[in-house]
């Protein structure tokens, strides 16, 4: 990916199917230039994870992904000693002296690399995605600090392993808990929100080129209307695209009440939400005056 200017980054991202807005493009640009991790926050389904994937595609780098969950520890995130292999080595060693074996079993051969280690040790530059960091506990965040600021990992038996190439690090968070100041301080911050009408239309049309423009506009308008309701899970961008594809398959000309009722389950996925949406939006669609006023 060319990294000469913000506009070039934006183009490169668009070329791989990710329409970034100004601030997203700028932060992606800065992330490469300054070599700092990016913390992306925002509601579910606005394309946080997709941004990391797009960056990996645009830069031609491999994507290393660490999915966070409660109880994730360093053995699963960073590295682990392959103790079975170590045992085998000790047993198979036979005559070798204690000193030799001791040095030997704590070497790279016996190390199982996990995503973070993999990203650091890779000889090619990578994009490291640490997904849903807010799902882990604060201790794990603290563990990440060394990695995020110095791009290195300390293994007591081996010493420090520093990155040879500078990875692009993207952390995502659904804002389900406040992240620590220490972590935030090391990152660039990007808040992603649902896109504006025009941009969402572009996104939808990019992924379903066969959809007519009027229908796409109508679709995005309805989606926005649904999002403005008090829902358990508002429809994400991915669901807008899915819905657009569905409409295409159904061969719909316009989104009327019937089409909406048929395909609503694509964008609304809670029983209570469905009732609410059917009540509020369905009725509006029946109205010949539409929703302009």
């Amino acid at each position: 990916m060319p990294d000469g200017s913000v506009a070039e980054v934006k183009e490169a991202l668009a070329a791989v199917g990710y329409l970034a807005d100004e601030s997203t493009a700028l932060v992606s640009f800065l992330a490469q230039k300054l070599g700092k991790p990016v913390l992306v926050e925002g509601p579910a389904g606005v394309g946080k994870t997709e941004l990391a994937k797009a960056l990996s595609r645009a830069t031609g780098r491999e994507l290393v992904r660490l999915q966070c969950y409660e109880g994730l520890d360093e053995a699963k995130a960073m590295y682990e000693w392959n103790y079975r292999k170590q045992l085998l080595r000790i047993q198979a060693g036979g005559e070798a002296g204690w000193e030799d074996v001791q040095d030997d079993i704590f070497s790279n051969d016996f190390l199982l690399t996990r995503p973070l280690m993999q990203a650091i040790a890779s000889s090619e530059p990578v994009v490291l995605l640490i997904d849903e960091i807010d799902k882990t506990d604060q201790e794990f965040e603290a563990m990440l600090l060394e990695l995020l600021s110095d791009f290195q990992i300390t293994i007591p038996e081996l010493g420090q392993i520093a990155a040879t190439t500078m990875p692009i690090v993207v952390l995502t968070s659904n804002d389900s808990r406040e992240l620590t100041e220490a972590l935030k301080r090391r990152c660039l911050y990007l808040w992603l929100d649902y896109p504006e009408t025009e941009r969402e239309m572009e996104i939808v049309r990019l992924h379903t080129p066969d959809l007519s423009e009027t229908l796409a506009r109508r679709l995005v308008e309805v989606i926005r209307m649904v999002r403005s309701l008090d829902l358990k899970k508002p429809p994400s961008i991915a669901e807008s695209i899915d819905w657009a594809r569905t409409l295409l398959l159904l061969g719909a000309e316009d989104i009327d009440q019937e089409t909406f009722a048929q395909s609503m389950s694509i964008i609304v996925k809670h029983r209570t939400d469905i009732d609410l949406v059917a009540e509020r939006v369905g009725v509006k669609l029946a109205d010949p005056l539409r929703t302009e006023s």
Partner: protein, 468 residues
């Protein structure tokens, strides 16, 4: 350091670095934590982007300095204000004025056609063209004429807006009978902002002084919230509380103090050592299972707060299984079932108001009676492991508070907390008898925002209260 740009229109030391430092200083004074590392990042970022693009400049600063959405909001406000003031201060000091040649701004002289201008503004607003709006705002001010101005910026903004016939919402048809598109409220606010800015600029130029900078109004800096967002925030605070309450027991598990020897298991273990009880076995400490009773006032005096309280209840029910909730006005009524069977918040609120059966005659809260009823109904179940949380304003409407009954409740329950939707200032004024109850509580907190709720959670969990 106070802000370097006082009323004296001091431009401060030259150079961008000093200006940025001043900006960060101002952000800090508004409570945004800007560390040295953030500032270094900001400088590094600025060396990579084009300064001539205002948007890039701002985004680069925002990405490195504002690290949460709340911070971002404050950042936007301060950014607008600070750089406007800085530029003006510089202009005043160097004696730069916009019409230095003495001529009035371009286009003056002939009277403007207000309708035409109004039309142009509508178009600019519809297109969202910031630059055009700014230019048009200046034209509007010129057309309006300085002489007619009241000198108070806010008043002038509204006068100009009315003269131009701009109102938000759908528009009456134009003179030619054609239909005109509605004006978006946001866009109109945007235009007003431009007007305000230009009027301020004008004022500064005439008086050659800057008005003193004021801290941001609390209203501006808080995010505009919708009930949905609030509900989500409440859920967040409560799930945090759940985690804290759940780990509370764990901390105590490790301590030996106050543990009881389990004789049976010690004897059993002694068999290994030939009947000599070498190793003592202790009774395992059970972690505190939060058994929670929540009493929620839903009378008219707390109407505004009760939606918030009900949402707290709603969130609590999602998190705790052993939770019994009650609503009360004159009488008390258990609503645990309602919360367990109904998932939708709106439906819950409706069911509670329709079938709670808590108002008797007058509809005024009767705390004394509520305690009596609560105690008779529930006293057998209360034990030292249970936590009672009362959500109410402690306004008895002059009735007997029965503090001694409340004391009994407090004695039986392990812990008792009171969340009051009124600011502490108002406690014990009028018919509020908070003091009578407060002495028996393990803690009494003012609570009407999610921030207060979080604070409460922190205190309950034994941490220091969050800074206000």
């Amino acid at each position: 350091m106070p802000t370097p740009y006082g009323p004296k229109a001091d431009a401060g030391p030259p150079g961008l670095a000093a200006k940025l430092l001043g900006f960060c200083e101002e952000l800090r004074s508004e409570g945004v934590a800007v560390g040295t590392s953030e500032m270094l990042d900001a400088f590094a970022a600025l060396s990579e982007v084009d300064w001539t693009s205002r948007a890039d400049f701002r985004e680069a600063l925002a990405a490195t300095i504002a690290k949460s959405q709340d911070d971002r909001r404050v950042f936007e406000l301060i950014f607008e204000r600070h750089f406007f003031r800085t530029a003006e201060a510089e202009a005043v000091q160097r004696g730069v004025t916009e019409h230095a040649e003495g001529g009035p701004p371009a286009g003056d002289g002939e009277r403007f056609d207000m309708d035409e201008l109004s039309e142009a503004i509508r178009e600019a607003m519809a297109a969202g063209d910031e630059d055009a709006m700014r230019d048009l705002a200046r034209l509007a001010i010129a057309a309006f004429g300085r002489a007619e101005g009241s000198g108070v910026v806010g008043v002038d903004v509204q006068r100009i807006r009315r003269t131009l016939g701009l109102t938000a919402g759908s528009q009456p048809p134009g003179e030619d009978g054609g239909e005109r598109p509605p004006i978006d409220r946001e866009q109109l606010t945007g235009f007003e902002r431009h007007l305000r800015r230009e009027l301020e600029r004008d004022l500064i130029e005439r008086t050659e002084t800057l008005p003193p900078s004021r801290p941001l109004a609390e209203l501006d800096r808080t995010l505009p919230t919708s009930p949905t967002q609030d509900l989500a925030a409440v859920h967040r605070a409560v799930s945090q509380m759940k985690r804290r309450l759940a780990t509370l027991g764990h901390e105590q598990r490790g301590r030996r103090k106050g543990q009881f020897v389990d004789v049976r298991r010690t004897m059993r273990a002694s068999l290994e050592t030939g009947g000599v009880p070498l190793r003592l076995r202790y009774r395992p400490k059970r972690p505190r299972r939060p058994e929670i009773y929540v009493l929620c006032d839903v009378s008219t005096s707390v109407t505004s707060a009760s939606v918030f309280f009900l949402s707290v209840l709603h969130a609590l029910h999602d998190s705790f299984r052993k939770l019994r909730s009650f609503v009360f006005i004159e009488r008390i009524s258990e609503v645990t079932d309602v919360f367990e069977h109904e998932r939708d918040f709106a439906a819950i609120a409706q069911r509670i108001s329709s079938e709670g059966g808590v108002a008797d005659v007058s509809g005024y809260t009767d705390y004394g009676r509520v305690w009596l009823e609560f105690l008779t109904e529930i006293s057998d179940d209360l034990d030292p492991r249970s936590t009672v949380i009362v959500l109410g304003d402690a306004r008895t409407n002059g009735r007997e508070p029965h503090a001694e009954v409340f004391a009994q409740v407090a004695e039986r329950a392990g812990r008792l907390f009171w969340l009051n939707p009124e600011p502490k200032l108002y406690w014990n004024y009028g018919d509020s008898v908070m003091a009578a109850y407060e002495r028996y509580c393990d803690g009494a907190f003012e609570c009407w925002t999610t921030k207060h709720l979080e604070n409460f959670v922190n205190v309950v969990a034994g941490a220091a209260p969050a800074a206000e």
